[in-house]
Symmetry: C2
Subunit: 205 residues, 2 copies
């Protein structure tokens, strides 16, 4: 390690804030909360958006089952209590990312309006952008895709409390962005989201 | 929102990876894990480092009691189990930040070696840099500072299981960085850390 020569090279301007980080990155942080049925296309849109944002020089990070359910939430099951705690924790993590300047892309079914609204309030109380993206899709279309074979298992009774089959999906009342993944192209969907991010001044690119 | 005109503007290169994010930011993500007694100066060093990194154009984010204990870990108390779960969750969050390209600055007493080592293993298994920063300081020096009046309360028996008084602090065996906050200047401490980040190729600035 280099020997310390210079002295008094302290940072004098006080704590680094959200604004400092935004200036460094050239964009603001925010949470994009994708919600919709299993198979509605949440992850597909999030992955495509992530690529487009990267091309625009915007830092985003996806929170999904792979890095959350197998990580911080590995000690949670699928009881009603655990599902609520699952969404609460994801909401808190998304908020930390948004605060850090990153655009958090949260992609979970998150079927209950009350849980989603709690995450919204958490962000809004801290002056952070929470953008609910309803990936709307008919149950028929989602079930016919069934990318993970989960609907089949739910219909066979092998999975209980499956959203859309024997557990409700509560549609957002006023999502900031309402996509229709069974009618729109992926490009259209992503462009709608980028438009919203520009309109809100979150990105300029 | 702008009408979609162009088609086929999909992102074709597959999922965005850690490497894409590093390229965008110009540095790698990592976790700097500050550990030491209450009053040892963990936060002081982390805040100063955060400012210096910002000047260098490096994105970092502090995880501390303010944004973690009052947020995602608000449902945890101070039992042995809860303390372990507290550190586990912080470790998982730091790992997500490191993966996103951000330099996570985690600043908690984290007195138990087993808990810290679990976080280390979590990072190393995923090929991420975990840098343990031992903010070493005599109990006498930490207690004489007592910035939050906690030692006084612990000595008076108003706080139980206080690290250094009636609960052990297990010093790191092989910390990547060993600071002596009662003997070094803040500038020296921060320069040691920056030196380590440069040596590891995490930052080039």
């Amino acid at each position: 390690m280099a020997e310390q020569k210079a002295t008094n090279v302290h940072w004098h301007e006080g704590d680094i804030t959200r604004e400092h980080r935004s200036r460094l990155l050239g964009h603001k942080g925010a949470t994009l909360w994708f919600t919709g049925l299993s198979g509605s296309g949440k992850s597909t849109v999030a992955v495509e958006l992530e690529g487009r944002l990267n091309e625009l020089g915007v830092l985003s990070y996806r929170l999904d089952g792979d890095n959350v359910r197998l990580g911080i939430n590995r000690n949670l099951g699928f009881s009603a209590e655990d599902r609520t705690e699952n969404i609460r924790r994801i909401g808190e993590i998304a908020k930390l990312f948004a605060d850090s300047g990153v655009i958090a892309l949260s992609s979970f079914i998150s079927p209950y309006a009350a849980d989603r609204n709690q995450v919204r309030e958490l962000h809004e109380a801290a002056g952070m952008d929470f953008i609910e993206v309803f990936v709307d899709c008919s149950l028929e279309a989602a079930e016919s895709r069934d990318p993970k074979g989960l609907y089949k298992k739910a219909r066979a009774g092998e999975i209980k409390n499956f959203t859309g089959i024997d557990d409700p999906y509560e549609s957002p009342w006023k999502p900031e962005i309402h996509l229709h993944s069974d009618q729109q192209s992926l490009t259209e969907e992503v462009d709608m989201i980028l438009g919203e991010l520009r309109e809100r001044g979150i990105i300029n690119a």
